[in-house]
Subunit: 443 residues, 2 copies
Amino acid sequence: MADPAPATSATHVEGHPHVVIIGAGFAGLAAASELGGTPVNVTLIDRRNYHLFVPLLYQVASAALSPADIAEPIRRILSRHSNIEVMLGEVAGIDKQARTVALADGTAVAYDRLIVATGSTHSYFGHDEWAQHAPGLKTIEDARQIRARVLMAFEQAEICRNKVEQQDLITTVVVGAGPTGVEMAGAIAELSRHTLARDFRNIRPETARVLLVEAGPRVLPAFPPELSDYAHKALEKLGVTVMVNTPVEDVTAEGVTLGGRFVRAGTVIWGAGVRASPAGSWLGVDTDKAGRVKVGPDLTVPGYPEIFVLGDTALAMHDDGSPLPGLAQVAKQQGEHVGSHLAGHLAKGEAMPPFRFKNRGNLATIGRNSAVADFGSRKIKGFVAWVLWGLVHVYLLIGFSNRLLVSMQWLVAYLTYHRGARLITGERKAPVQENHERRSAAE
Amino acid sequence: MADPAPATSATHVEGHPHVVIIGAGFAGLAAASELGGTPVNVTLIDRRNYHLFVPLLYQVASAALSPADIAEPIRRILSRHSNIEVMLGEVAGIDKQARTVALADGTAVAYDRLIVATGSTHSYFGHDEWAQHAPGLKTIEDARQIRARVLMAFEQAEICRNKVEQQDLITTVVVGAGPTGVEMAGAIAELSRHTLARDFRNIRPETARVLLVEAGPRVLPAFPPELSDYAHKALEKLGVTVMVNTPVEDVTAEGVTLGGRFVRAGTVIWGAGVRASPAGSWLGVDTDKAGRVKVGPDLTVPGYPEIFVLGDTALAMHDDGSPLPGLAQVAKQQGEHVGSHLAGHLAKGEAMPPFRFKNRGNLATIGRNSAVADFGSRKIKGFVAWVLWGLVHVYLLIGFSNRLLVSMQWLVAYLTYHRGARLITGERKAPVQENHERRSAAE
């Protein structure tokens, strides 16, 4: 091995190997935590200053929680490990030969080992022009935008004097019936039927239509069919119109085209496709068509044993050759796996063992008192699954105050049906202006 | 009196007089609440969907609270009063002859009585070009921007390798030592000295400079001199450098010029000037040089007994001819006064009595365990004033869950020194890009 890469942080130890981690999602953060306190210099690079608990992001989009409730500063999470440096930066490229990560500001960070865990974003299947009309849900900005659009649609309907237009405005189409789509559809149905019901004078929010549209034959396709059936019925009970075997053909500012029919909608939300982050092109290596980097059993890039790719960015395989799903628990276990073996590997040359995914069970919530849980042999649905879902998600949150605040808000919401974060906010442009533009465009 | 203006809401009663209120701040909301349940049709227009508790906005800017903790949907606050319609809209003008309010989308809302309570914004004393470098603190967007700037300055300093530039970046200048300036300066000093202290590797946040700059001779000029003295000393104890008799001469992207000397700073915050909303120009009436509309003892515009102007938008007088201060309690009392007498005035022709301000005392906080309270004859400072400040502000918040959440977060912050909302978020533009641009501009 060559001389270790130079230490970049005042608290790094000269002579220790330098592990650079890109991305502080579930995989990157787990790897960093495992490396905390080991004789390794770690630099964790992210373009955000916080770790985001994405599984609860739909609750920000549906006005139940605030962004800060599900985000925790990366520095704070790792502050007790002086061997870990956290760097806010945007990655521009990776030089595999020179073993450096290039940042957008021109800085080059040298590494001995590199862990790439930069996640995924939405895919519009080649229709990127749909993105402006049908926002996806991956970031806090996405969630705030969806929240503002949903709430604004009701505000617009309240001042609209045309009954048909009013109903069109308070129609929401959610595209894709994976966990995010199901959760969003359920949450918006509850928002309109309970939270907003008494707050308007000229519209009846409880009559708002929520369409959940899925190209495949059933909702929650990653779950067993009996749980899909339950979820389908539970969604309909909440007032959601579920349309399976219905691919979306077009999305415009006014609505979506489904099966040749145009459906007017005030809000369209995208929960259908996922595309890996551009790590494949940074690395100049093979990817599948979703942009995932193919990795070996030890999660390294073939031919580059010093480069690991984890989480949604990686195409890793089960022992039977089937691909691992894009789940938080996969990412977290991969991060723990690499992080826990890397220090020993670097210090004593121990081999990096292959990664094996342990399925801890799959959970999805539909709405109040209603969720599904799949533990392989054991399947749970309804109230018990819903309580379990809540407990697991509070437990998995990072930070005592986040757990406390989320629990409190859920309790208050459960008892009163109120949602605490019903704010229409924007940055540069006042949302009400945007509103007027959309209205006149629609007229 | 002419025929009543037509009802605009499905729950308004034909034949009842129509009161239109513009602005759901302290004054407008208080007026609306008083009119709830009376035989009057009320329309409350605001360009936001929430009432914002501005006195705690500095806690959002300093990463202690989330925006939703101090904001409550206007509809929800007033939902039990079916005679009140809430309308999200931007006012474009007022036609005093036709008695209509024109909205930006072209709608005209007719009124029998009009209450204008649209608040105030920052004033840069003719230097509007300073606004981009020194944001003020009036909206949620302002607070998020200040929070992002302060936190980003520390992030930039962490990756900067030049010791002098590092210190410049983590220097914050707060302009204006009224309550907002004092609170911001104190909060940023605590943020750097306690919350961030252990989270960085290459900088020492506790060495960050915070300058509070005031053109006048003392901090908190609206308070008695002995409380100003206390606040001055308390700020210095927190590590704030207080500079009185120091007018700001220039503000640029790199810092501020004070007394002929240029001080480099990563963050500049504006808490100096206030300018009334453009209600004076909508109404085409006389204003003072801060844009406030001159009103009579009954808070109506001279010559227009059907138009009331309240709160920061109004220049109202004490009995002795001195102007009423721009305080939340003045706005709230004016709203209550007009709201409580208007129904009787409209129904039975009762006279509108003159408004008299009852001073309930003035509070300002400096930081942990340290605040001042002025009740005229009784002046309190230190820990007791600080507890009182906290109790009063939690009590004045609207909504049970807001009270609960703010109390919880204050308790956790008091015990752990942590702040729960340390997020750098933006809308269209990634903050880290902005960062790099600013850095290269400074180099």
